[in-house]
């Protein structure tokens, strides 16, 4: 086999920029396919925009004197949850079931590179969500008061890791359709119990304690703290950090590629 002039050299040398090229191509496809899926655009863009617009104008939620000031941080948390958990879980669940991940496994794209591409795509979509939602909030009369921007970004990144871990946990174990149902169900539960549009203070005490221990409640608290108090509460950091460590570890341990 040392005789094949038409093919590659025997030991393929690492191509400079090969890793970056692979990750860039995969990220581009992840973005393209996410934005092409109608249900994904509905979930990650339309619903947060509609919820923010509707409840800041229609005063039926106990959001206090400053509805938009309460809602905007909660909707940012919702945006993170919808992209990093629901959208990722559904897409990955079907990719696993349809053999897409298996097929990628025999290309030169490494697992770490696939993970990097998925992470990059999620972060880029979140940036787009934040830009759109911030513009909308501004139009609705929201004004920043000395926001802790770095803390906000840090909390959203931690939340992204935690939710992505939960999403991959579902996608890696359950059949695709079950993942779809579970992710959407969890989305609805956490929307109501996560302090996103309903203040945690309005929940019964045991439920409130539970909510604060969940990543949704912690991320809402963190976003609201960063935007209204200029600081993220310590308990929110702790809860987010725990989920951000545990969920991906469990997901990695249980993920079945086929």
């Amino acid at each position: 086999m040392s005789d094949l002039g038409t093919t590659l050299p025997r030991t393929t040398p690492p191509i400079p920029g090969g890793r970056r090229r692979r990750v860039a191509a995969q990220t581009r496809i992840e973005l393209l396919l996410t934005l092409r899926r109608g249900e994904s655009v509905l979930l990650t863009f339309a619903i947060p925009v509609l919820l923010l617009g509707f409840f800041s104008k229609v005063d039926i939620l106990p959001t206090g004197a400053d509805p938009i000031g309460f809602l905007f941080p909660g909707i940012l948390a919702l945006a993170v949850m919808s992209t990093a958990m629901v959208s990722l879980a559904i897409a990955t669940g079907f990719e696993r079931q349809l053999g897409v991940l298996k097929r990628l496994g025999v290309t030169p794209l490494r697992r770490g590179e696939l993970l990097a591409a998925k992470t990059l795509a999620i972060v880029l979509i979140e940036i787009l969500q934040v830009l759109i939602l911030t513009a909308e909030a501004y139009l609705l009369g929201w004004r920043p008061h000395d926001p802790a921007v770095l803390a906000l970004i840090g909390a959203m990144l931690l939340g992204t890791v935690a939710f992505a871990g939960l999403g991959l946990l579902m996608a890696g174990v359950l059949p695709a359709l079950t993942t779809l149902a579970a992710a959407n169900g969890l989305y609805l539960v956490l929307l109501l119990l996560g302090g996103m549009i309903v203040p945690l203070a309005k929940l019964p005490a045991p439920l409130r304690a539970l909510s604060r221990a969940l990543p949704a409640g912690a991320l809402s608290d963190a976003c609201r703290g960063a935007l209204t108090l200029g600081t993220v509460p310590t308990h929110a950091w702790i809860v987010l950090a725990c989920w951000a460590v545990l969920a991906p570890i469990i997901a990695a341990a249980t993920f079945r590629w086929e």
Partner: protein
């Protein structure tokens, strides 16, 4: 060293043994067909070579590398076509090819490849809008985009129409001409006969027999006559006339264990004529691959010509003598393909003897 080496491979799923001490090899520039009924262990063998599972015993090598341990080195040099799927439902053919092209160091041109598999007119459709045959064509193109040295094609023509079948066979032949080692699985005998340089028949995880289609058809067919006639003939009476055992293999399909001499054939037809019985077909000497296949595997469920679990496997007619012939021929063929190049053992490993049908 062969491009693909399978040596005493055992694959187990829990208690089930899917592949049991299978050995065969494939050289660069040849097409090897892994032929067997469903559940024979074809896919398990191929997926072990692709690195999806580890052997329970024995070893596999692709281009001298371990598919699992050397994945990073091997992935750029192999092309894979899974039995189904593997593509994003919402992606367009050219987008998928460009994505894969970006993974490989020296890829083929996506547009040219799309044209070669006859999908240019479907470039704006998404995967889920393609027909089954079109999806197969794209899957084949994805296996070739990286200009592989070794291609694994798992049932490449399953569920595809006649023109698609011919196109895929042509592409497979072209790959071999270009020096690629192709291992394909099929349960389509005609396909193995038409496209493969060598056929490895596998059943219940065992390699039952191996050789070129011509060798298989002549070596095991020389000492018998096969014919089709109404079911339920008095085989004992016929056997007395022919002085050789006669078996009804399946209903209406008979085998006379006697050489196909003109005398024997005449005696057979005379016997049928006396009883006014029709002769559906008669095959003497050269058999169709299908006969070999049916004789060596038990897919009819009605008989079992050989029992692969016991030493009788060594008693396949013509096997032991044909083995040596086969080996010599293969080596000669290999040398023809390697003409004008350096020694085959150029990478420091001793050239291993061809295992033949062992």
């Amino acid at each position: 060293m062969s491009a693909i080496e399978v040596d005493g491979l055992v694959v187990r799923y829990g208690k089930l043994t899917a592949v049991n001490r299978a050995s065969f090899h494939a050289d660069l520039g040849t097409v090897v067909a892994l032929l067997g009924p469903n559940g024979a262990g074809k896919t398990s063998t191929v997926e072990t070579l692709e690195g999806f599972r580890r052997p329970a015993a024995g070893s596999v090598r692709v281009l001298g590398l371990d598919p699992v341990a050397d994945r990073a080195l091997l992935a750029p040099r192999i092309g894979v076509m899974l039995q189904e799927g593997g593509v994003y439902p919402g992606i367009r053919p050219l987008e998928m090819l460009r994505l894969y092209a970006a993974f490989f160091p020296n890829p083929d041109d996506p547009e040219a490849l799309l044209d070669r598999v006859g999908l240019t007119h479907r470039r704006t459709s998404t995967w889920r809008q393609l027909s089954g045959g079109e999806q197969q064509r794209l899957a084949l193109a994805l296996a070739l985009i990286g200009r592989p040295e070794v291609a694994f094609l798992d049932e490449p023509t399953a569920g595809i129409d006649v023109s698609g079948r011919q196109l895929i066979r042509q592409i497979v032949r072209d790959l071999a001409t270009a020096g690629v080692a192709v291992l394909l699985t099929t349960h389509d005998l005609e396909e193995a006969e038409k496209v493969a340089d060598r056929v490895v028949i596998i059943d219940h995880g065992h390699v039952v027999v191996e050789g070129t289609p011509t060798e298989l058809m002549t070596s095991t067919g020389s000492e018998e006559i096969r014919f089709g006639a109404p079911p339920g003939l008095d085989t004992a009476a016929l056997g007395k006339v022919l002085t050789a055992p006669v078996d009804e293999l399946t209903a209406g399909e008979y085998r006379v264990s006697a050489p196909p001499t003109p005398n024997n054939v005449a005696a057979l037809t005379a016997w049928l004529a006396e009883r006014d019985l029709p002769l559906a077909d008669l095959r003497a000497g050269r058999q169709r691959l299908e006969d070999i296949f049916l004789a060596l595997t038990d897919i009819t469920g009605e008989h079992r010509a050989i029992t692969v679990d016991d030493p009788a496997v060594d008693d396949v007619p013509g096997e032991s003598t044909a083995g040596d012939r086969r080996r010599t021929r293969d080596r000669r063929a290999g040398q023809r393909r390697r003409r004008g190049d350096g020694p085959a053992s150029g990478n420091g490993r001793p050239d291993r003897p061809d295992r033949g049908a062992a």
